[in-house]
Symmetry: C2
Subunit: 423 residues, 2 copies
Amino acid sequence: MTSAHMRFERATEKVAGRVRKMRPSAVRDLFAAATRPDIISLSGGMPDVSLLPQSAVRKAAKAAWCDQMAQALQYGGTDGRLDTRRVFADLMRDEGIRCKPENIIITSGGQQALDLIAKTFVDPGDIVITEGPTYLGALQAFSAYEPDVRCIPFDDHGMRIDLLEAELQRIGPGNPRLKFLYTIPNFQNPGGVTLIPERRKRLIELSHQYGFIVVEDDPYGRLRYDGGHVLPLKALDDSVVYLGTVSKVFAPGLRCGWIAAPSGVLAKVNLVKQGSDLCGSSFDQVLVEHYFTDTPWQRTLRRFVRTYHERRDAMLRALEAYFPPEATWTRPEGGFFIWVTLPSYVDAASMLPEALEAGVTYTPGDGFFPDGRRGRNCMRIAFCFESPDNIDEAIRRLALVIEQKLELYRAFIEAGELKEDKR
Amino acid sequence: MTSAHMRFERATEKVAGRVRKMRPSAVRDLFAAATRPDIISLSGGMPDVSLLPQSAVRKAAKAAWCDQMAQALQYGGTDGRLDTRRVFADLMRDEGIRCKPENIIITSGGQQALDLIAKTFVDPGDIVITEGPTYLGALQAFSAYEPDVRCIPFDDHGMRIDLLEAELQRIGPGNPRLKFLYTIPNFQNPGGVTLIPERRKRLIELSHQYGFIVVEDDPYGRLRYDGGHVLPLKALDDSVVYLGTVSKVFAPGLRCGWIAAPSGVLAKVNLVKQGSDLCGSSFDQVLVEHYFTDTPWQRTLRRFVRTYHERRDAMLRALEAYFPPEATWTRPEGGFFIWVTLPSYVDAASMLPEALEAGVTYTPGDGFFPDGRRGRNCMRIAFCFESPDNIDEAIRRLALVIEQKLELYRAFIEAGELKEDKR
């Protein structure tokens, strides 16, 4: 045994308790698998950046390497550039939110915002409420701070507020362990569902009654294909902590997100962020600022919406055409994802190798729950990245894989060896 | 009281224990003050990015917005782009380190690397050893994970290994609470001192004897103005965790640093990084990669070295010319900083308003210790950013402020009201 080897062993023994509890993400292995050219990927949440006009990117980049090179290459403030924060304030105003640039801190994508919020508020054992299922990256971010995550199911109208209220009653009003509720009200990840206005209003009321912070994550809000705009929670109550990002309306490779929050909250987040990264990329912030001020970005956004709209329709059509009657799925009005529920005896994670063999990937549902026990018969399928034809073919392949599983189980059920699914 | 106000109060009450213990950084307020045009700043550690040729930045940026736009705008892997990691492996090879790109993870500047290392290894109460004084951003990063930081003084030859050994004896060999030793061996921040080869060898031996990870932070290693290259700790022992960054040899606005470590350590860091930011800026990574492959960056680096060399010389000359005999200071062979020690009865933090009044800033020494009690009679002065003439003028101004303080104290001492300093 070499000395370096001994040291390696010792180093891994030294990891902190928070890391020992972390589970590697199943989605990452899928991403790796999805690079095989014959596989159609329904697993990733990647926007189709090929829709971005190079002229716009060139113009925005030129601001960074030329006109504002000195600032773009230098350290910036922890809160981020004021001019870029102004752009984000304008983007929020379009959605009905009034927010001053001073009440915004720029983050390295939406993911860093999730980390900073949890790092600022969560002590081990503190209660965090989320939709269940919810964004697995949020669960990963939160898990480092060891919260007790309580999941509230959704239906077609978003989070079940009646079940939330029952959970809050169990927790009790003013419980100091209850820190925040994390929600993706628009075109939820992974559910695709949208929280209806009445429930938004009630959620805000409950936050005051029980004393918790509402964290509203809105990466997909501008990607709506049907129905009318629903006012963000932040527009209903300024004390809401709102998370935005340019990842889905411009480009995730630039890692530019933001937190809009009351100044008391932001002061604490700033303190935490100083230690986390000192400051974000000045270059990316200059580029993003100029993309949203000097280019016809609204036209590009309409192109995104049109494209994803077609892909969503293609996926819904294919699901109707190919999926077995035992399967149900959500019908999102926007965003990237559809949530599929299969009979409870199907394990979506263990079915994945067969799907890969058949040339299609999806994200198994258990990763979207903190314990990995729920959602085993569910899957998230993304329509953002593939062409309508590819989506059709991917759903056809996936249906065949599911059908094979179901046939097996149907035979068991007929033989009386399995109880039929009652949902 | 408005509802938003009530919620704000409640939100700040909800902050985690780790945040309640955090102290805002004095340096940040100084940065703000230093924007007044009449003030000469010796406080920041900002590289002089005006030395970068725009043609090189343009060429590197073009790779990102043009040739590799699809990758530059898209999500990347958590570890960072393999091609960029190859560049960092090459940069380390120049320094004498053999490291495969697979053993590198790209971070959002050196600061995120510090956060990730502490997040991966430190449970509350765990022991971390640092130089004392040490980089305040490292102390900030570590503090979120609530370690017991033990500081080892340095002399002109770097960390006092005899004092380290005494501390290790108190901690005991194989103590599971002892996690890592953090050192900046080259041109230390804030000390400017360099760890000599004999001590590097002994430090590695002690790490094996007592069972701790060595974390080597090397942002300034390529900025040497006198003397010969000293082999990095990582070159002596592959189990060392090495932190690199392009902030001082290219541009900090791009937030590109890296961790080079054994694969077992990196696997854990990757898991932690997934939750922290999912991935770094692909755009910045493409740009950095092409800066170091397609432009005459070595020539630019020589320009950096020549410029900082002149500025260091100007500062050392001015210190000799203007500073009172009671003051002592380090004589760095490279890097950005000089560490000044004043008589123990001078409080550098409380003297700062007078210095600002006189038109000069510096960084008070107490911020470079975890408890803020030590280093009160010390200051860090940076020679990286100002011209030789400005540095001369700044040191002249600062000497006057110090001289006024000393005169006051000399009068007290003569009157027998203060004991003379014995150091």
